[in-house]
Symmetry: D2
Subunit: 97 residues, 4 copies
């Protein structure tokens, strides 16, 4: 698959910015543990990072549906069905994670 076919192409900078922020948040949690901060405060931060990751997933999924799945659906029934199947599996992983 060539890069121009990825659903997230137009949002790549925003995506990288979000991931860098999440990386920093995880580092911040490690620092909280290091400084013996209170369990509940650490849990609150972990929940915030989990939510930020979910927002990344939801954005990626919307881009994927709007580009890869829609393009495949226009190409052929078989291509569309395969992409829908694959997207549905990814949604299931997302819901269960």
């Amino acid at each position: 698959m060539v890069s121009s076919m990825n659903g997230y192409d137009a949002n790549k900078d925003d995506l990288q910015k979000r991931l860098r922020r999440i990386e920093g948040q995880v580092r911040g949690i490690a620092r909280m543990v290091d400084e013996d901060e209170y369990c509940i405060d650490i849990l609150t931060q972990v929940s915030a990072v989990t939510k930020a990751l979910q927002a990344v997933s939801l954005g990626l999924m919307e881009d994927h549906l709007g580009h890869c799945v829609v393009d495949a659906a226009r190409e052929s029934h078989e291509a569309g069905d395969a992409k829908v199947r694959e997207a549905a599996d990814a949604i299931a992983r997302l819901v269960r994670s």
Copy 2:
């Protein structure tokens, strides 16, 4: 939208069977509460029903993507975009519930 356009049409009997089973499971939980069963056993049952409802949602979402969204994508860019937007919002509700 006419009824024949619903993504779940082909799976309607299976869907109704699952929903009746879930309804019975909820009634079973009420009976457990009535009979003063142990909190953890009730919690286990509630988790099982939540999982069953998620399976219903994931099935509905796959049918919806494979029919409503794919059909709209073939119809026009505008129709496809609108359906993708709507599906993405439903996926977000699903992930957050």
Copy 3:
């Protein structure tokens, strides 16, 4: 275990009321399927029921921690540890469902 030891004893009526409402909501979803309502509207209702079940779980868990776990902790270290272990497993099931 005698009934008076259940964490949810004081909230039994409220719990039963919530479960009856959830049972009615599941029946409502089956009716929506029967009447060929739009996939996304059905998905919205399933998400609402999932949220209502989660609220039931969270209420049960708080009652369980505040009664069964706290009582066991006051009884002995072994009893407390066993109840904490059991509650942690139930929280994991809840988070993953």
Copy 4:
């Protein structure tokens, strides 16, 4: 609160190791985006990180219940109730994230 009262004290090294691994995984996802990898492969990795963070939360919560909540329950009814209330709120954030 002095550091010796934190529930995670005994697991601090393991916790730090997990957080460093998660930080590396997030950096790996940013690299995947940089190299234009396929949306679904990126989504799979994001789900894996979300699961790893949930495991961190569940471990922290078990430690917190087994130490902070249990200790408070032994100290007084008021202290126990306050800690249970606080833990229940954190569990709710965890379930909803």
